[in-house]
């Protein structure tokens, strides 16, 4: 039997500090859906997703009741769609190719709706060293595909430690992000919230928009994203007088317990769906809800705001302790595994940006010690595509040198300027437009070509 303290601790974690499973993501291999006949390809994709994921929602809900733990998001991720487009865009015009890609995005959206998941990830391309006709069709389709679908998410991988950075792709993605924002200008450039540009994108991430079912994964896999910033914040607040060594120890212990819940839920969902259990992503993921905030943890460590001097060290300590505690608690660690610092999804992060404590430059520094990268950062609508490409290149370079995954999800909000407030709603929250350097980077990024892999890649 468990002690009252143990039972009460679990009760407090779930009911007072918002412990939940952030995402259970079912990764599905779609490579067997390939067909030269375009209608057949769509039919195959729809049928595969709706068959494999048919019971995902019902089983997840049943497991929520059994263990008394909320599973906030149920999602599906699929094989990068660019692979599947290869066979149907090769012999047609680029325009027709784009239109076919958009149709596949709509098929994914319909399949996601049918199985009742909130997002489907994997409308993706892997172009770290070059691109093919499937990749080009997908990338050119993104603005319209993200406008005309609700649930489809896209991650585009443009850099790998081993391959370097596809700078032409960074430039192209700068344009795609601008176009996507303009296409969805009525909703503050909402389309860009479903699009991430990545380096070293992990093949088993449960989190959107980075999730896709990578090559080398099983036929179907359950990956789990845990939550728990509220618990860590509470622990840090209660540890006012502890030095860093003792504080890190406390965070490790809590991280262990949080991750164990992810392990339990992942194993059970996988067993019930008769698919492989993939990995637990250790990332602490904030929500706009009060207290569910990474910035609040950093403040509780003794800083006035997240973003001021000391914040990078605070985040480094937090991320490391979460990883150390979590890695012991699960049979397999995957995904991004760090701490997420999406600005709009974290109310305290938005506050820090509003008072001028947090800048994009400081966020960039902080991404060198955590994961996910520049995430949900709203920037002025008149930011040029070249400047966005340069921001992307900086993040990709940090990822390469540090041999880790990082992404960029920025939203150039049409018609808005630095300091303006905007709202996305739901888990995506509200935000303030953060200022971007007025100086010009375009000559640099327009050099184009392949940015070489660093000496770090020469291992072995």
């Amino acid at each position: 039997m468990f002690s009252k303290e143990e039972v009460l601790e679990t009760f407090e974690m779930i009911h007072l500090n918002g412990l939940n499973i952030r995402a259970v993501t079912l990764g599905i291999n779609l490579l067997d859906c390939t067909d030269k006949n375009f209608d057949k390809l769509n039919a195959n994709i729809f049928s595969k997703i709706t068959t494999v994921a048919e019971r995902l929602l019902a089983e997840s809900q049943d497991i929520e009741h059994k263990y008394g733990i909320p599973i906030v998001n149920k999602r599906v991720s699929v094989t990068p769609i660019a692979f599947l487009l290869e066979s149907v865009v090769a012999d047609i015009s680029q325009k027709e190719g784009v239109s076919r890609a958009i149709q596949v995005a709509k098929t994914l959206d319909q399949a996601a709706e049918k199985v009742g998941v909130d997002y489907v990830g994997g409308y993706s391309a892997m172009i770290q060293k070059g691109w093919t006709s499937g990749d080009i069709a997908l990338i050119n389709s993104l603005p319209e595909a993200l406008r005309s679908t609700e649930r489809v998410c896209s991650c585009v991988n443009i850099a790998e430690t081993k391959s370097g950075i596809n700078v032409d792709a960074a430039l192209k993605m700068g344009e795609v992000i601008k176009k996507t924002a303009e296409k969805t200008s009525k909703n503050n450039g909402f389309g860009c919230t479903k699009l991430g540009v990545y380096a070293n994108a992990p093949a088993d991430s449960p989190f959107m928009p980075g999730a896709y079912q990578g090559v080398g994964e099983s036929e179907a896999t359950i990956n789990v994203g845990i939550s728990g910033p509220g618990i860590i914040r509470m622990i840090v607040e209660k540890s006012e007088n502890l030095d860093f060594r003792a504080l890190a120890e406390k965070i490790k212990r809590a991280s262990f317990k949080i991750t164990r819940v992810g392990e339990l839920i992942g194993q059970e969902v996988a067993k019930r769906l008769n698919v492989e259990f993939g990995a637990v992503d250790l990332s602490l993921a904030p929500t706009p809800a009060k207290g569910e905030s990474i910035a609040e943890i950093i403040k509780a460590m003794g800083l006035d705001y997240c973003g001021i001097p000391g914040s990078t060290a605070a985040l480094a300590l937090l991320t490391d302790a979460v990883k150390k505690g979590g890695s012991m608690a699960t049979s397999f660690v995957g995904g991004m595994s760090g701490a997420f610092i999406p600005v709009s999804e974290d109310a305290s992060m938005v506050e820090a940006a509003q008072v001028g404590a947090l800048s994009i430059e400081k966020l960039e520094a902080m991404t060198s010690v955590c994961s996910v990268g520049l995430d949900m950062v709203t920037i002025p609508g008149d930011t040029s595509s070249e400047t966005i490409a340069a921001i992307i290149l900086d993040e990709m370079a940090i990822a390469l040198v540090n041999n880790k995954p990082l992404g960029v999800r920025v939203i150039p909000v049409p018609g808005k300027k630095a300091g303006d407030k905007i709202k996305f709603g739901g888990l995506l929250g509200s935000s303030v437009i953060m200022p971007v350097s007025k100086f010009n980077s375009s000559k640099f990024v327009k050099r184009g070509g392949q940015f070489p892999s660093t000496i770090r890649s020469l291992t072995g």
Binding site: E6, T10, F11, H15, D62, K66, Y67, G68, I69
Partner: protein
Amino acid sequence: MSEERIIVTALGRNKVGIVAGISTVLAEHNASIIELTSAEMSGHFVMVMLVDISKIDVSLTGLQENLNNKGKEIGVQVTAQHEDIFRYMHRI
């Protein structure tokens, strides 16, 4: 081993009838209390029960619903969770 055991927790202000109320619901559905402990903690009454549900005559969700309703009636928050979530979090 722990396939069909749950932990029932009641939390709230102490008053007459909490244990009796919860136990009655469990008995009505043929759930057997294996262990019971209670205490005052941080100004709250906490009751923790380990319960065997292998022979219950409703689904776990049904039992949880009845326990919740009884909790509302008495004025305490009742949760019923499968034992494994505690085992995973607190035991290595």
